[in-house]
């Protein structure tokens, strides 16, 4: 992990957190689709980060988000979970390049479709845990299910777009 990559990652964290807390904090498209772009800060962690360090970073991120949402522990739990399964999820889909040689799992290194699938599975796991923990009764189960599917689709789309913008930026140089 070189200094350039660390700076790049810090930029990811700031941009994604800013978007999440100030633009998308209370956004619910059509009343169902919530956007959780801050999980991008976990997906885009440098690939050579040790699992324990990435879980610690995920916990801190989730805890910060929780302070703004007044849901202590909820986002932190979901963030730690996707940080834990990240190395397993990247291998699920066919990828253009070599997983081990990527500096960062993004559109540039693995292709837009692959990154979308990776982001979709991660955000699906994230939203499932979040909305199931949050829902209080079985009567709103189908409503929660709808929220999970819509939110993970929108979040994955948004993260792919975000990563695509970074990719096109570095191509221009």
């Amino acid at each position: 992990m070189g200094p350039a990559q660390i700076i790049r990652y810090i930029a990811h964290v700031f941009i994604l957190l800013f978007m999440q807390l100030f633009l998308f904090r209370d956004t619910a498209l059509l009343g169902y689709a919530y956007i959780f772009v801050h999980i991008g800060a976990i997906l885009l962690l440098p690939t050579d980060t040790t699992p324990i360090l990435s879980m610690i970073i995920a916990f801190c991120l989730g805890f910060l988000i929780d302070m703004f949402y007044d849901t202590i522990g909820l986002h932190a739990a979901a963030c730690v979970l996707i940080a834990f399964i990240r190395p397993r999820v990247v291998g699920l889909f066919s990828v253009q390049g070599e997983l081990n040689s990527m500096p960062e799992y993004n559109v540039e290194s693995g292709g837009a479709l692959w990154f979308f699938q990776f982001a979709l599975v991660s955000s699906f796991v994230y939203c499932s845990l979040l909305f199931i923990l949050e829902s209080t009764s079985i009567t709103i189960f189908f409503y929660s299910l709808l929220k999970i599917i819509a939110s993970s689709l929108v979040t994955a789309l948004f993260l792919t777009m975000y990563s695509y913008l970074w990719a096109s930026r570095s191509k221009r140089r």
Binding site: L21, F22, R25, D26, T27, A28, G31, Y34, P51, I52, M55, F59, G62, F63, D66, M67, F68, Y69, D70, T71, I72, G73, L74, A76, A77, V80, L81, F84, L133, E134, S135, T136, T139, I140, Y143
Partner: protein, 277 residues
């Protein structure tokens, strides 16, 4: 022993994962139950400042809308004042009775954070204990009831809004006088449910729902909402859907209700709860 240590070392990622998740679970179960008793929420000074900076910026976008609402509220209050004056003229007798004094006063505040999207929504305002706020004070907006304060820091306070699935509120149908409880089901921020209204009452869409005044947090007769739909599915209680008076999506100005009678009522109720010797 060496093997055991090696096993633990091999599984260190998984064990660390389990440890963190247990920590999160503990946080969820400890702190979400007792919302009032901890520091890491949106009324803490740092988060509060960030949120109010954000609110300062975004409030310019709906300035016109907020002004219109405040003007409407002023008009309503002026009409009420004139009505009151007329009644005083007819009945000029002055009674020196402490019960006639205003039992509630109001502290204006601005919303710095308000969510609609969770099943347990909280609202954060920019007044705190330094302004005389205390937990369990009522919150109302220009259009109607908003919620109840749960936690105060020095300059910010956090409270439940009605949009909190665990927060029931004593309510009354103003036409029939039936007493029930307004609860939110966690689905749509515009509607809540009115429970425990017996089927012997005649209810129809359009009836107004107001506070009952039973809990000394809110004065009686504050608007909560309007009955939208009544379902009579042969149970002992009606299934009533209420359209909430407050538009939580565009809430900006709120008033904190300080009840002067509340300490007195509370101390009476504490006496009742104490077991007899």
């Amino acid at each position: 022993m060496i093997n055991l240590l090696r096993f633990l070392y091999d599984k260190r990622n998984f064990l660390f994962f389990v440890l963190l998740e247990v920590l999160c679970g503990w946080l969820i179960f400890t702190f979400n139950k007792y919302q009032g008793a901890f520091y890491f929420n949106s009324s803490n000074a740092v988060v509060g400042n960030v949120l109010s900076a954000n609110r300062n910026f975004t409030s310019y976008f709906d300035l016109q809308d907020q002004n219109d609402k405040l003007v409407l509220e002023n008009v309503a209050l002026r009409t009420l004042l004139e009505q009151e004056k007329k009644q005083r003229k007819i009945e000029p007798m002055t009674v020196a009775d402490s019960a006639r004094k205003a039992a509630f006063d109001f502290i204006p505040a601005r919303v710095v954070k308000n969510s609609l999207t969770d099943t347990k929504n909280f609202i954060t305002i920019d007044k705190g204990s330094a302004d005389g706020l205390m937990p369990h004070m009522g919150l109302i907006g220009p259009q109607g009831l908003v919620g109840e304060i749960k936690y105060c820091s020095e300059h910010y306070s956090t409270g439940f809004s009605i949009l909190h699935v665990k927060n029931g509120l004593s309510a009354k149908l103003s036409r029939s006088g039936a007493i029930g409880s307004v609860e939110w089901d966690g689905v749509d921020a515009r509607f809540a449910k009115l429970n425990y209204i017996g089927r012997h009452y005649f209810i129809q869409p359009g009836d107004t729902v107001v506070t009952s005044g039973f809990n000394a947090v809110f004065p009686a007769g504050l608007p909560i909402g309007v009955v939208e739909k009544v379902n009579d599915d042969n149970q002992s209680f009606y299934n009533i859907k209420v359209r909430l008076a407050t538009d939580f999506g565009s809430l900006d100005h709120v008033y904190v209700i300080r009840s002067k009678a509340k300490p007195e009522i509370d101390s009476l109720e504490v006496k009742l709860d104490k077991p007899k010797k």
